[in-house]
């Protein structure tokens, strides 16, 4: 009833694309090779899907080169509006466009989108359940040199507490493309959390698994029309599950850029003869409790890893699920410990704030060793 045109038909064509040529979308010869940021993948995917559906309109607040909406702007200038440095205005303009049947994508840095335009997001987009996609790039400490004012560490907490809002946080460029498609075909408000640094594409075998998982869930969503049933995608290291039939000792629930850190941690833990499962939670809301319950049964220790405040983010969301499970395992939340960030290259910040692969490995080993000592 909210929108003029039938939302289910508005992006049927995009939905009908069963195979996506990732190399073509990203404009590379082999997408498994280069390091690509999720924001760049978003910008290129938006340009690609923009061609498929003329109903897509994109807004930016003077950061289109950084958010990569510039790709869309250059290709479809008539459907791109740069509203200037006015985030509140941008979100309300988006609500107006969406109320007239447009699929509207707004993009700026996560901190300015969620922080500055929260009232507009809550009272205009979410309350009216309008077809607006809120894309926050430069999330977390990974923003680096710009410093604390530009590092969004609260956005997951804020956005997942708003009714009608979905929260997506893709792990690499390829998952970003799939999630952009997902959000464009879903008529609800969606928050897409992206980060600044170039990061590797997750290994081809695991990538296939992500793709197939997403494709299964898309079947469910297209039948339900409200994409309420997205699952977190489980990424399990192949050698781990085959070499250790009894299962892993620990599991790391990670999201966004931290999935790539978690995979490095998994490698180092293996060198210490610990088996670790990595679970990529790219759909933070709605959060499917079943995979979490399953992982809880399989391992002894649970960890969450996020480039976000430990209050209210991924760790909190997982702990909310665990709190309702009998015999749930302890969950150690690893993230930014309720402090503000600083200005430095992001790898230095990750090291200083305990989010680098080395620091995370050290922390996990410390906790598991201490527990084991207590038990023996």
């Amino acid at each position: 009833m909210n929108v003029e045109t039938d939302p289910s038909s508005s992006s049927q064509y995009i939905q009908s694309l069963t195979t996506l040529n990732v190399d073509e979308i990203l404009g590379v010869k082999d997408a498994s090779k280069p390091e690509i940021s999720t924001r760049e993948a978003f910008g290129k995917a938006l340009r690609y899907f923009g061609e498929k559906d003329p109903n897509i309109v994109v807004l930016d607040a003077d950061l289109s080169k950084s958010t990569h909406t510039a790709h869309f702007a250059m290709t479809y200038p008539e459907r791109f509006f740069n509203v200037g440095i006015a985030e509140q205005d941008m979100v309300s303009v988006a609500a107006g466009l969406a109320s007239c049947g447009k699929i509207v994508v707004v993009s700026t840095f996560a901190i300015f989108l969620v922080g500055r335009a929260l009232d507009q997001i809550r009272n205009m987009v979410a309350l009216n359940r309008l077809n607006v996609k809120l894309v926050g790039t430069h999330a977390g400490l990974a923003t680096g040199e710009d410093g604390a004012t530009h590092q969004s560490l609260e956005d997951i907490a804020i956005m997942r507490s708003i009714p009608n809002m979905k929260v997506f946080s893709p792990a690499d460029a390829i998952e970003t493309i799939h999630m952009v498609r997902e959000m464009l075909t879903c008529p609800d408000p969606v928050y897409l959390r992206l980060s600044r640094p170039k990061i590797p594409i997750i290994a081809p075998k695991i990538r296939q698994e992500i793709t197939s998982t997403l494709e299964t869930t898309e079947d469910i969503t297209s039948s339900q029309q409200k994409c309420s049933n997205l699952h977190p995608n489980s990424i399990e290291s192949i050698q781990n599950s085959s070499s250790d039939p009894s299962g892993s000792q620990c599991a790391i629930f990670a999201t966004g850029i931290m999935v790539h850190i978690a995979l490095k941690v998994q490698q180092s833990l293996e060198n210490h003869e610990f088996n670790c499962k990595v679970v990529n939670v790219s759909t933070i809301k709605p959060l499917d409790p079943l995979p979490i319950e399953r992982v809880n049964r399989q391992v002894r220790y649970l960890f969450s890893l996020e480039d976000h405040n430990v209050i209210g983010g991924l760790g909190t969301a997982i702990s909310e699920v665990l709190a309702s499970i009998p015999n749930s395992k302890p969950l150690m939340r690893i993230g930014v410990k309720d402090i503000f960030g600083a200005s430095a290259p992001y790898s230095d910040l990750f090291e200083a704030f305990g989010l680098s692969p080395e620091q995370v490995t050290k922390k996990i080993l410390g906790i598991m060793n201490e527990h084991d000592r207590h038990e023996t």
């Binding site: 009833m1 909210n2 003029e4 045109t5 309109v57 008539e78 459907r79 509006f81 509203v83 200037g84 006015a86 509140q88 205005d89 979100v91 309300s92 303009v93 988006a94 609500a95 107006g96 466009l97 969406a98 109320s99 007239c100 049947g101 447009k102 509207v104 009232d119 507009q120 009272n123 205009m124 309350l127 009216n128 359940r129």
Partner: protein, 337 residues
Amino acid sequence: MIKNLDTELSPTKLLPTELPPTGLPKMKLSEMELSPNSIKERPTNSLDQMPTALNIRRTIMSIAKNLKVKAAEIRQKVIELIARGESGHVGGSFSACDILTVLYYYKMTLDTENPRWAKRDRFILSKGHSVPLLYAILADLGILSLKPKDILRQLHSQLPGHPRMDITPGIDMSSGSLGMGISAGCGMAMAAKLDGAKYRTYVLVGDGELQEGQIWEGVMTASHFGLDNLTVIVDKNNLQSDSPVKTVKNCGEIADQFKAFNWNVIEINGHNLIEIINAFDMVDMMRGKPTVIVAKTCKGKGVTFMENNPVYHSSLINDHHQKDALEELKIQNECGN
């Protein structure tokens, strides 16, 4: 800019000389009687339908007279809605009543059978607390059918305390948190341009509301993108919740501010039906820029003891006052002035 249009109409004022012949006024001159606008195709102007100056004058006067009666009727319905719900903002509803009566019964093209008709004109009540007025109009037009459970500001009612587009038929945008309406209106106007659609978007804001910073973000957006299909009406009743706007935080000369942002500005008396009609008709002829109508109004207008009385921003109306107010409005309704 037209300052205080005379109540006496003269054709020169309706047809500004600088306009080319193609820019003839889009007035529904055939409609002597008021009717809810359910016209799907807008009237086209051709030279043989060109009315004489006298006809225009007579028609406008007649429409204005009928609208005045309608406005008094709407004010009665507002009083009844607020009294039944025992809560609601009467002052701001009354100050905007004449403006909205002209918009809904004269200007806007709507389909009362299909409130979501894609080509309809849009209206955003940015000062959402005046929603009892909008409910009264929507109910009177038959867009909103009121059931016994529809009590203002009560559970399971279609009449929440602030407008909700997902609950009430005929509401084009939810509001309540002030300052967002112009931006949302820009979005609707952009959508119309993208689709090559002719519908217009009207946004009503309060003068106190102009203290919100986002208002001016939206004002810049509208002029930058040349949204001549967007019209903002400022209900300048000089009062806000705490005290007069001037004492809380003086907004200065509203007309000058909009002019500085490259808007067309029309200043009118917001309770003079002929001035309101003329202003809205003139807006249709403006090209390339958005238009603001700064309407000088009186909070509580229509009921003597409520006029300019800050007590009636959102106070409860007791039975005694309700009776007095309805009595006064009934007289206006019958006399037609």
